[in-house]
């Protein structure tokens, strides 16, 4: 039950929501469409579902071209951000809806319907609420009912549009894991939309990162985090400190600072080649003293966050265009304790891992 999207383009008036997007999802995968709001992820999901239609391009489900087909004929289950439960029906009737509207010849008997609905409600652990109305349920319960309702018609594909977007943090966390487990049980090919990178990392087996109507990168959570394909992906998936500079020997010269790093495989790039270094807060080593030529900083702020300590450090030299004003650093609790740092102290930074991007036009010119 694969999903294939070929060169989809969609515009709403002047706004290009999707620009030549292609995507493959294999049988049984759980894929996240991740991106900031307005990036086209929901539009893409609705195209796959058949709730909206493409301007150009094709949608193939399970090897069949369904581009012009109605959602009814696509065998997809759809879960909405705001649940879209039928308020005048009980939980039981909501879940039974898809069975009751089947053609008479295909419709299960009342007994079979009851059995199936109770099975599904058991699956989402809500059978005890079957006689309630949606208005009497919490948000998390409503979304689970919506999921059971979508599953009732045995969809070949499950599409979820920001399924946890309207829930509060604790419920979100719980439901994420629950969705993951549910998917492991059912193996329905699923795509869900989210703007929360943590959610995408935790739930999906593959992440599709989107921005401005285009797909920026497709990969496992590990790949998009550790090997981002573009500056956008690097900064959208997790926090990042950005350094702009030019190669100078074995260093990246940011003007006031020389970072002792050089992009791998850049031997041919001569001095003065502009590069951008994206470094995650946890990819710094902090030293109190050093013999190396490492840039010096002052600790401005220390925030204990539980398992990690978040530090803000300020470069000692006058700010230059290539340097962030404040560098975010995260240290594991144990390392922080060992260093015994205090606000105002002098530290040296050594980057341990860096994402390199060739400086494009969007990067500030070097002074």
């Amino acid at each position: 039950m694969s999903i294939e999207v070929r060169n989809i383009t969609k515009a709403f008036d002047d706004f290009k929501a999707l620009d030549n997007v292609s995507l493959n999802v294999d049988d049984g995968e759980l894929v996240a469409l991740l991106g900031p709001s307005g990036c086209g992820k929901t539009t893409l999901l609705r195209m796959i579902a058949g709730l909206d239609f493409v301007d150009d391009g094709e949608v193939w489900l399970n090897g069949e071209n369904v581009t012009g087909k109605h959602i009814k004929q696509r065998g997809v289950g759809f879960v909405f951000q705001h649940y879209a439960l039928f308020g005048h029906m009980t939980v039981f009737e909501n879940v039974a809806f898809g069975l009751r509207v089947l053609k008479r010849s295909e419709r299960p008997s009342e007994g079979q319907t009851r059995k199936r609905v109770h099975e599904l409600l058991d699956l989402v652990q809500l059978d005890w609420l079957s006689k309630r109305f949606p208005a009497q349920l919490s948000g998390g319960q409503r979304q689970r009912v919506a999921l059971a309702r979508a599953l009732a018609v045995e969809p070949k594909f499950l599409l979820l549009d920001e399924p946890f977007g309207a829930l509060d943090a604790n419920v979100r966390k719980e439901l994420r894991r629950w969705l993951r487990r549910l998917h492991d049980e059912l193996h329905v090919t699923s795509i869900f939309v989210t703007h929360d990178q943590e959610e995408a990392m935790e739930v999906a087996s593959r992440i599709v990162v989107m921005d401005k109507g285009r797909i920026e990168q497709v990969g496992t959570p590990e790949a998009v985090y550790d090997k981002p394909a573009s500056p956008f992906v690097s900064s959208f998936i997790g926090n990042v400190n950005v350094f702009h500079g030019r190669l100078q020997g074995e260093t990246l010269d940011t003007g006031a600072w020389q970072l002792p790093i050089r992009p791998p495989g850049s031997d041919e790039a001569g001095d003065d080649t502009p590069f951008a270094a994206y470094i995650r807060p946890h990819d710094f080593e902090l030293l109190k003293t050093t013999d190396e030529k490492l840039p010096g900083c002052r600790v401005k702020f220390i925030q204990p966050m539980g398992s990690v300590y978040r530090l803000e450090v300020v470069p000692e030299h006058a700010a230059s265009d290539g340097l962030p004003n404040v560098i975010d650093v995260e240290l594991p609790r144990r390392d922080f304790r060992a260093l015994d740092l205090a606000v105002g102290e002098r530290v040296y930074l050594r980057p341990t891992e860096t994402h390199w991007f060739e400086a494009g036009e969007n990067i500030a010119p070097q002074a």
Partner: protein, 275 residues
């Protein structure tokens, strides 16, 4: 005792004003009505109310008001549906036109309708050819009451329809429902309370309507004479007690019917989980 604080200040003041106003505007006049009726002996009261002409007028008033309310229920729903759901040129204009029956002096409406639907009027002459007489029959009364009651249904249903989540339809579609099933099982049920309210308002207005009806009704005793007209007639004959007796009866009938509709509404609300 635990005190709960409400968001709006001045609850006592507001409820005092409400009670005072309701008493002044509704309860006191109604009490006066009852009190005036006591001038009649039980025998006279019974005689007045069981008079053939009075009973006939009640029948005309209730039946025409019911018929008009039912037609308005259907028409109003269709109009509200179209106004909310379909893009239409000059939608705002149409939307404004809906409220005209509220604003127009009822007598003006009555005269216009009577002229149009009279046997030789623009519309009436067309029906005359078909052998149907509208003006000066109970049918004419129904026409006038439809005109008067239409905005009630449209205006009560419209906002509820507007608030219906588009995604409900999409969800139903994704579950394989046909358009007709979606309408019948998903979109229509949430509208029932609003439809009932609109129906009740249109019916109540129709029951008491006077101005627009008398011009088109023909006012033939036993056939097309409505209760409010009979009350006026009694008053003109200085039969104040008789008039109030009929008025009281009218009040009782209206109250019972509105009560029934309200109970129906409470029942549908409860059934849909709205408390």
């Amino acid at each position: 005792m635990k005190r709960s604080f409400s968001i709006l200040p001045g609850f006592r003041l507001a409820s005092g004003i409400t009670l005072f106003y309701l008493s002044l505007l509704v309860l006191i006049p109604l009490c006066a009505l009852v009190w005036k009726t006591t001038e009649l002996s039980p025998g006279e009261l019974f005689a007045t109310l069981t008079n053939g002409r009075v009973l006939a007028s009640f029948r005309v008033s209730i039946l025409t008001a019911l018929a008009a309310a039912f037609i308005n229920l259907f028409l109003g729903f269709v109009i509200a549906w179209v106004l909310v759901r379909y893009p239409m040129p000059m939608k705002r204009l149409f939307d404004a036109v809906i409220d005209l029956p509220f604003a127009l002096p009822t007598a003006v409406a009555g005269i216009v309708l009577a002229a149009l639907y009279a046997p030789d009027g623009w519309i009436g002459s067309f029906f005359t050819e078909l052998g149907i007489r509208i003006a000066y029959t109970p049918l004419g009364i129904v026409v006038a009451l439809i005109f008067i009651g239409l905005p009630f249904v449209v205006r009560t249903v419209e906002p509820v329809l507007q608030d219906l989540d588009r995604q409900l339809e999409e969800a139903a579609q994704s579950l394989g429902a046909t358009p007709w099933t979606i309408f019948r099982r998903v979109l229509f049920p949430p509208l029932i309370p609003a439809l009932l309210t609109g129906f009740a308002l249109a019916f109540a207005r129709g029951l008491g309507e006077y101005g627009s009806v008398i011009f088109i009704a023909g006012n033939m005793p036993m056939v097309s004479e409505i209760v409010p007209l009979l009350i006026i007639t009694k008053l003109e004959q200085y039969d104040y007690a008789g008039a109030t007796a009929i008025g009281l009866m009218m009040l009782v009938v209206a109250f019972i019917m509105l009560l029934v509709i309200n109970m129906l509404q409470a029942w549908t609300r409860k059934r849909t989980g709205k408390l």
